[in-house]
Symmetry: C2
Subunit: 199 residues, 2 copies
């Protein structure tokens, strides 16, 4: 009686270090029928990271080729490494009426918004500026000037919140997971995303 | 850091007999911090119904007085009985930043939409026309002409779905409860309903 018009793109962003990846991993456990878009990067894998899970790890030459062949929806250079969101995976899944979830920094989210204005943009906030500062301080640098730069960057990123559809304050991973899962279920019920057949 | 601007009004509607009341009762169990708006009626209570729970049961004289004193947000006469949604309860709760949930027929929902355009309107659908027909046939009348009239009314009510924010297909009470609870949690995260303090 009711049918989905097309797959929905869910974009999760927020300041770096806010815990986007951890929350998304939990969301995938409770919403198994959503497809995680895995980004490409030229940075070397950390221990515990698996190629194709957290990222596809590629060489700079391969990344360049992908840029030139138009294989990225968006890409950026961050701290000397390249990061890119592959276009074909997202387009294929959405075309098959399947939903996709994507974790991305705030700059990338803006670019994706231009290409997918009907996407659902979710901004994850730290519970407080103090909590963010504690996290930044705990990140292994003692230089206060660096921390000031990071905090300024974080404030810039935080000021992006307004154009997002949803704001999730990351008090606990478990509750943030519940909220994002709720947003996914709710968006699937939006009348603008549905069409009625056979009334 | 993030604060809600004001209470949210959730309005649940749909064709009669679709199971709105049953689903809302389940939602109240999982979202305890939402306030159910109880309507007034002049129809006599059924067994199992308690004054102030399903409805406030009042005399026609009292109902007339309430109409004249402007105490209803909307009211309607259905099958010879009067039904009305009290204005003050909803306005008070929303003013206190608290959310309200309201069950109402499709005619009433239209009127409430005019007064609360920012409300969240949820339309409950039967899983199929056949399911609705089975329900209508099972409702204790053998006259096919009556069933035809009811089915035509139901089709008219169903055609209202498009202006609602969300559509919930009532496959099972339990899943419909999950979906409406998700819609409530998601709407509380909508950036348009929030304001940022102290960044």
């Amino acid at each position: 009686m009711v049918e989905k018009k097309e797959g929905i793109l869910f974009v999760v962003s927020g300041p770096s270090g806010v815990g986007k990846g951890t929350v998304i991993n939990e969301v995938l456990k409770v919403i198994p029928d959503i497809n995680l878009s895995v980004s490409y990067t030229t940075r070397p894998p950390r221990k515990n990271e698996t190629n194709g899970k957290e990222y596809f790890f590629v060489s700079e030459e391969e990344f360049d080729r992908m840029i030139n062949d138009g294989e990225f929806l968006e890409w950026a250079r961050v701290h000397g490494n390249f990061y890119g969101t592959p276009r074909s995976f997202i387009e294929e899944k959405l075309g098959e009426n399947k939903d996709v979830i994507l974790e991305i920094d705030t700059q990338g989210a803006r670019q994706v918004k231009r290409i997918f204005p009907d996407g659902v943009f979710i901004f994850i906030l730290p519970p407080s500026i103090e909590a963010l500062l504690t996290r930044l301080r705990g990140r292994g640098t003692d230089c206060e000037r660096d921390i000031e730069i990071r905090l300024r960057n974080a404030r810039d990123e935080l000021s992006e919140w307004e154009w997002y559809n949803y704001i999730v304050v990351n008090e606990t991973v478990s509750f943030s997971k519940d909220l994002i899962a709720s947003i996914i279920l709710a968006e699937r019920c939006r009348s603008s995303r549905l069409e009625m057949k056979g009334i």
